[in-house]
Subunit: 159 residues, 2 copies
DNA sequence: TATATTAATGGAAATCATTATCAATAAGGA
DNA sequence: TCCTTATTGATAATGATTTCCATTAATATA
């Protein structure tokens, strides 16, 4: 039986790491695994706790550092939903089925992913990106669209 | 000569304050004045410093409290551009000429307002809002669209 | 496979934006 | 003008994120 932390089959991101000269370490592997297995919008602490279950030696500092690295590499997205902590999720390509945006309840903090109209959005976004990058000479790498309001439960409570 | 802090002519927002039972105080007046006079995306501390120049007795706590109040009243918007501090700007109606979105340079933090395609965006946003509020029973009050990337200067530097 | 190099780690302390506490102050109605 | 109580501001507390630095471990190389 292989050791507990055996590397296993090479993952899709190993090449990207090696190409940049980054080392493939246990903390990095597990952080990516946790992000990959979770459909949620995890905070750094959420991730720390989940990784800690698998690999108790993990340090919170390493989680922050790794998340920062992954954001810079474009492998994950960092969001701010207005509750004072950043949230992270794996970046699937903008054209892949996972592409989505967020509805954020300003009362209870619930976050709903939606994929409706993403095609039409993307079309407009592409057009806008093209024009804006020309007009402002701005190299656009990413975008966010977020809707704020009240979820069904919080909306009911107000009545 | 009237006192330094005489109220002067009633402002457009006085009614909204009175209607909610909120008092019209000197700090609130000056904070709104500062927001109105600035075209920038001010942080709480920026606002504190500007208000302090006019009214040195201001406290940072009051600035935060007032901004929170104004956000809840819908008079100002609160943004997060990813630099760890919130930014505020006066909310002109979504249909007024001031409506704009942001290009954010992830390298130097520069923020560029753009108003291009806002009409088309608004059309899509309205349609999306309509559908999403129906589908998820979500009461949408607001939205943000942000583009992240490199401004012309930072883009040049990388080469 | 053993070794050397140095990137990466993790615990503790530091930082920094924002919030809570609470006694003093002042807005606005009577 | 006076009274009620919303509002204020100084200080302390909080909580997320960063910095520091000695230790560890990934990878290139012998």
């Amino acid at each position: 039986m292989p050791g507990r932390w055996c590397r296993g089959p090479a993952k899709w991101w190993h090449g990207e790491f090696r190409g940049c000269g980054y080392r493939i370490t246990i903390p990095r592997q597990i952080i990516l695994q946790v992000l990959d297995e979770s459909k949620e919008h995890l905070s750094a602490e959420d991730i720390y706790l989940k990784v800690h279950n698998i690999y108790p030696a993990i340090g919170l500092t390493t989680v922050y550092r790794t998340l920062d690295l992954l954001v810079n590499m474009g492998l994950i997205f960092k969001f701010d939903f207005g509750d004072g902590r950043a949230r992270y999720e794996l970046a699937r390509g903008a054209n892949e089925p996972y592409h989505h945006h967020h509805l954020i309840c300003t009362n209870c903090g619930r976050i709903i992913d939606y994929t409706d109209f993403v095609d039409e959005e993307l079309e407009l976004i592409k057009k806008t990106e093209k024009e804006l990058s020309k007009k402002y000479n701005f190299e656009i790498k990413n975008h966010t669209i977020q809707f704020y309001g009240l979820c069904d439960e919080c909306s009911d409570k107000e009545k």
